[in-house]
């Protein structure tokens, strides 16, 4: 049913159920918001109406109404720009600021902060109400996320994300009244909770209350240490998002400029995690074939997302035998650099620093997992920085990113195929694995390499793929809530999948917690995904097993895929953890 109303004297017609906020946007009135965020494709809707900055005047109502949460009604007369509404909005921001550290200058969110921006837009010049300010401890317990509840505006976006989309349930509002704040159970440090470090809460937090653990200085230090050989690797999803930090359009592919800037920053080698992605496919496809041929447990679950790994360790400790044992690509890469490549160069692995540039904050945590390393004091990966942190380093080094000439990754760990690049988006890992598994199982060449059924933003994508006369049931899942749904079915014995790809972040790594902030704009994620597939199509080789450097690696060093040495270097094990 259509609803007729006027907003600021402009008549308009919108479908029933539209909010005033949405209706106003159709006539180019953008009412400011702070707590509200709706990401359709992710089924994420933070509609708690807590900030009250989106208030508007509705004729005939005693109070102002929050436009983000008020549906339009027939004949409604709305004023979005009355003095009364504007003053109330400004007062809300002032009240928020009256209980907020005024430390924008040194705040990690600074230029990305919605609160700071709003204060500027509304022309808040003084904070008329002053009084006591909350004092919370800053939680720096984890390797991934810093929580500074002092900067929290109680918008509950993190809570909605973690509880409803990811179903991890780390956060809840605590206490009441002025003391209310968003916290973990029993006020535990994040490191002692079931947090997966997917970083999705941080991706939607409008302020500096949730930020990544900053590792930039560690990288600078390594780069300036003459005794360290510093190797960097970059994940597939970084190259399709990094440009946004320098004002480029979302989805612009900046691989060459990224490599060039990394060289300028002084890295001794610039490798591509895509190489390790191809390697992962070799291992994972072999593991799958092995399970199929030896009656192993199915489905096989992919394991290249550390947040997902931590999720099942906490939530499904009884199912630890079904995920693949493959390490994630960047860990495989780290492992190879400190073994194979160190040997090639003839240097002590201890004097190599491996830096990963990732779209991900979970990988910061992952790199610190004690079982992932050559020995107790040599980790596979030493430092993980996010796409955003890399952008900052580039700015710090005063590099004109957009003017750089494209450069190529170093050999041999910079070689990759189209199969590897698509790891960066949901469905990519399985598509890549199918391209290889198909040929392994049938011995024939796969003509049509693109599996459309596995693409797109649906939370759970399913397909039945016939290979060598047998139907394989596969599923692609992104978002941990969707993963839970499927895992529960598996636990109950109600699922007959053979392989399942799971990525913690909605959209996969292109939507990772370390990517440039999307500020609620889903189009950005879609453009990044499109770029990933463009890059795949542009590659001469599109199947992992065709990667010549990979073939050589097995021949010269690893032996058989899924063989003994591969196991030692490229596979891992899981630990049951408490749900809290």
């Amino acid at each position: 049913m259509d609803i007729h109303l006027t907003i600021n004297d402009i008549p308009l017609t919108v479908p029933e159920g539209t909010t005033i906020l949405e209706a106003a946007r159709t006539i180019n009135i953008d009412i400011p918001t702070l707590c509200h965020m709706k990401l359709h494709e992710m089924h994420y809707n933070n509609n708690i109406a807590s900030c009250r900055v989106c208030v508007v005047e509705i004729e005939g109502r005693r109070n102002l109404a929050s436009s983000c949460s008020t549906p339009v009604m027939e004949g409604m007369v709305v004023k979005t720009d009355s003095l009364r509404a504007i003053q109330a909005r400004r007062a809300m921001v002032e009240l928020l600021l009256s209980d907020h550290p005024k430390s924008c200058l040194t705040c990690a969110k600074n230029m990305d902060c919605d609160l700071r921006k709003l204060a500027a837009e509304l022309g808040v010049r003084t904070i008329g109400y002053e009084g006591v300010e909350s004092e919370f401890e800053i939680d720096q317990s984890s390797s991934s996320i810093v929580r500074d509840p002092n900067k929290c505006i109680r918008c509950r976006r993190c809570e909605t994300m973690c509880n409803e989309v990811q179903t991890v349930g780390v956060y809840s509002a605590m206490g009441r009244g002025f003391e209310t704040v968003i916290k973990t159970a029993f006020d535990l440090p994040l490191s002692q909770t079931a947090c997966t470090f997917c970083g999705q809460c941080l991706a939607v937090c409008p302020t500096g209350a949730l930020t990544e653990v900053d590792q930039v200085d560690k990288v600078w230090k390594a780069l300036n240490d003459p005794n360290q050989f510093v190797v960097v690797q970059t994940a597939p999803a970084v190259r399709v998002a990094l440009g946004e930090e320098f004002g480029m359009e979302p989805g612009e592919i900046v691989t060459g400029k990224m490599v060039a800037s990394l060289r300028r920053l002084g890295f001794d080698r610039v490798f591509d995690t895509d190489f390790a992605a191809d390697l992962t496919i070799m291992e994972e496809a072999s593991e799958l074939v092995h399970r199929i041929q030896h009656g192993g447990r199915l489905p096989l679950l992919t394991s290249c997302c550390p947040a997902w790994v931590k999720f099942f360790e906490h939530q499904f400790p009884d199912l630890l035998d079904i995920p693949s044992t493959c390490k994630s690509p960047h860990q495989m890469m780290g492992s190879l650099i400190k073994s194979y490549y160190a040997k090639t160069l003839g240097i002590d692995p201890k004097s190599i620093t491996v830096v990963s540039v990732m779209p991900c904050v979970a990988k910061k945590y992952e790199a610190a997992r004690p079982e992932l390393g050559q020995s107790a004091d040599t980790a596979d990966v030493d430092i993980v920085i996010t796409t955003r942190e890399l952008a900052r380093m580039i700015r710090e080094a005063s590099i004109h990113f957009d003017h750089l000439k494209d450069q190529e990754f170093d050999h041999p760990l910079g070689e990759s195929t189209g199969a590897a690049i698509i790891f960066g988006t949901t469905g990519g890992v399985l598509e890549a694995a199918l391209r290889t598994a198909y040929e392994m199982l049938t011995g024939e060449a796969l003509e049509k390499v693109e599996f459309e059924a596995l693409r797109g933003m649906n939370g759970i994508k399913e397909a039945v793929i016939p290979i060598a006369g047998k139907d394989y049931r596969i599923a692609v899942i992104h978002g941990l809530g969707n993963a839970r749904t499927v895992l529960e079915k598996i636990r109950a014995g109600e699922s007959d999948y053979d392989v399942i790809e799971i990525m913690a972040c909605p959209g996969g790594c292109i939507g990772g917690g370390g990517q440039p902030y999307h500020h609620g704009n889903m189009e950005i994620l879609k453009s990044r995904a499109a770029a990933i597939y463009r890059e795949d199509r542009a590659k001469p080789l599109r199947k992992s097993h065709e990667n010549l450097a990979i073939v050589a690696l097995y021949k010269d060093y690893l032996g058989e895929p899924y063989g003994e040495r591969a196991h030692q270097l490229l596979h891992t094990s899981y630990t049951a953890r408490r749900k809290i």
Binding site: S50, R52, V55, L96, Y129, R154, A173, R176, T180
Partner: protein
């Protein structure tokens, strides 16, 4: 025994009538001339009397009756609050129709001996009018001008016996609704009666029922809001404890009218006695087939479950209450959607207050017109007030809408305690305001209270006198709303804190006139912007005191004095030359701030003085210690 039809209900009623017959006599009956008559002694079991020892009185009474061999002829009951809590513990003897006040366990033997055995009233325990010194055995002036509809059975029937409720016309309205009225007729009756919600907002009950009925759904819910959160109001508690079946019956009627088969009573955990009585009532109603399947042989099914609050005022707000029942934090959500559209578990839900519900069976039985004749044009029927504070007769009063504050406070309430001067009446609890002397004669109804900046609210009526500081009162309420804010929205979470801080500043003598402006501005913005009723009404106590008692604020700010002598930081105690040097004050001072030699004028060391006032209380010499 499950009642299979109305016939069986009527038979049961006829059988049960004798249970309460003794109490129905309106005129005093001389028992000497009525041999074989069983007397009833009602010992008030209401919260006030209970706390001041009524259970012990009942116990002693039973013992004494036993000893006197009267146990067969005299029965003891503990019904709900009689209303006149000030004079508790109270007992009533029927059919003699004699009420005794402030009875202690020691008085029991006298009552047994003199009243019951010798037939003489115990004069000293009768109510005495403080002015005329006249004694009353019945027709105590406190009850004049009251009209009991919601409280009709409270203090009259034994709440733990369903038969007494049935004898008092109980469940007749339900039978009428089930067999002689259509749901629409029921809703129409309520609409015509003009009954409005007694929980605070005053929304027409019939209209709310109609909305809920109109929302398409496979299930609808009825919730009784028994979270009575207004600090200083206890009428809902009295109904729940004194007449729980009336609430159950009204919920059944609502179920039949709205098309619901499940009701919930959301009751404060702080009311264990009410919970206990409700449990008994529900069990009994189930036993008699008045809850459950095919009620009274009809095809109507309905059941009721108790849900407990856990100490959060905001859970009185409907959406918060619903979340609390769902096992969540009691945070309100934006309306629309209203509970009538999307409430508990997403289903249409009708939330009604206890007192609202208690009015419904009589309206059904006596008709909409009967009810609509009582009260004012827009506010029909009666309203129960919990009269408390600096008034002589603290208690529960039920008066027709339109009664003036003066009639309640100075008539029924007997005026101000200790002959002090009336300053204001606070109505509407933390959402309401303070009404000054000049409005004492305005008739109380929803609209007129709103018009003078207060609210009906749930019916708390706190009387304030010259010793109350209005800034302090505003601060008290702000502290309440600040503590009870759910913390969800900015306006209320931070706003009420800032309001409280400004008031704090003023009461400590650090306020400026600019603060006053800021206070007012922020009040208006919070009213305008807060998400729910709690925040929207939280500024009311400030705005109304600012409106009527601005000079008191200004005195705190400009003159740095608290006219009522309440705000400690602004007080100063001094010993004058009237001092005779007795030393009593010095002994009492907690900080040893007073020094002086015997028989000489003492002095107070202002640095050490805590302003506790203990010295002044101790001093026997008029004017020797002054406070300013």
């Amino acid at each position: 025994m499950k009642l299979k039809d109305t016939e069986e209900l009527n038979v049961l009623k006829a059988q049960s009538l004798k249970l309460i017959e003794t109490r129905r006599a309106k005129e005093a009956v001389d028992t000497k001339n009525a041999p074989g008559l069983v007397r009833h002694i009602l010992v008030c079991g209401g919260p006030g009397c209970h706390s001041s020892g009524s259970p012990r009185i009942a116990e002693v009474l039973e013992e004494e009756l036993d000893r006197a061999g009267l146990a067969d002829q005299i029965k003891v009951f503990e019904p709900g609050c009689f209303g006149f809590c000030e004079k508790g513990p109270m007992i009533q003897i029927h059919p003699d129709n004699v009420t005794y006040c402030e009875v202690s366990p020691e008085d029991v033997s006298t009552i047994v001996q003199e009243h019951l055995l010798e037939g003489k009233q115990v004069e000293r325990l009768l109510y005495m009018d403080p002015n005329t010194k006249e004694r009353f055995a019945a027709n105590i002036p406190f009850y004049n001008n009251q009209l009991r509809i919601a409280l009709r059975n409270v203090g009259y029937i034994a709440p733990e016996n369903i038969l007494e409720y049935i004898a008092a016309d109980g469940y007749q309205a339900l039978a009428k609704v089930l067999f002689h009225m259509t749901p629409l007729e029921v809703i129409d009756t309520l609409k015509v009666s003009g009954l409005r919600g007694r929980g605070g907002a005053g929304f027409p009950t019939g209209v709310k029922w109609e909305f809920t009925r109109r929302s398409e759904a496979d299930q609808r819910y009825i919730i009784c809001n028994a979270d009575e959160g207004d600090p200083g109001a206890f009428m809902d508690r009295s109904v729940l404890e004194g007449d729980p079946h009336s609430v159950l019956e009204a919920m059944l009627i609502a179920g039949a009218a709205i098309g619901s088969s499940q009701g919930y009573i959301y009751v404060r955990a702080e009311y264990p006695a009410a919970i206990h009585r409700l449990k008994i009532a529900i069990d009994q109603a189930r036993e008699y087939g008045l809850l459950g399947k095919q009620i009274l042989g009809s095809d109507f099914d309905f059941d009721i479950e108790l849900k407990y609050g856990a100490g959060a005022f905001v859970c009185g707000e409907e959406t918060a209450l619903i979340h609390s029942i769902e096992g969540l934090r009691g945070e309100p959500t934006v309306k629309p959607p209203f509970p009538a559209q999307k409430g508990l578990w997403g289903k249409p839900t009708c939330v009604n207050n206890v007192e609202t519900l208690a009015n419904i069976p009589p309206i059904i039985l006596k008709g909409a017109e009967w009810f609509a004749k009582i009260g004012t044009e827009k506010s029909k029927g009666t309203k129960v007030f919990a009269l408390a504070g600096k008034v002589n007769n603290v208690g529960l009063v039920e008066v027709p809408m339109g009664t003036t504050l003066r009639e309640i406070i100075f008539g029924i309430g007997g005026g101000i305690k200790r002959h002090k001067t009336f300053k204001a009446a606070q109505t509407g609890g933390p959402s309401g305001g303070c009404i000054p002397t000049k409005y004492l004669d305005s008739p109380i109804d929803y609209e007129s209270l709103m018009a003078i900046g207060s609210m009906m609210g749930s019916g708390g009526l706190i009387v304030l006198d010259e010793d109350d500081c209005m800034v302090e009162i505003a601060k008290f309420f702000l502290e309440f709303t600040m503590d009870e804010s759910c913390g969800r929205c900015t306006a209320c979470r931070v706003g009420t804190k800032r309001l409280h801080e400004i008031l704090q500043k003023i009461t400590e003598g650090r306020g400026t006139l600019e603060d006053l402006e800021n206070l007012e501005k922020l009040c208006n913005i919070i009213k305008d912007t807060a998400l729910c009723g709690l925040g929207q009404s939280a500024p009311n106590p400030i705005l109304s005191t600012l409106k009527y008692f601005r000079d008191e604020y200004v005195a705190h700010i400009v003159d740095k004095t608290c006219p009522a002598g309440v705000c400690k930081s602004l007080l100063k105690y001094e010993i004058t030359d009237k001092c005779v040097g007795c030393g009593r004050c010095a002994k009492q001072c907690p900080t040893r701030a007073i020094s002086g030699s015997p028989k000489k004028r003492h002095v107070i060391d202002q640095e050490r003085c805590l302003k506790c006032g203990a010295c002044m209380e101790q001093c026997r010499v008029d004017g020797a210690i002054i406070r300013h």
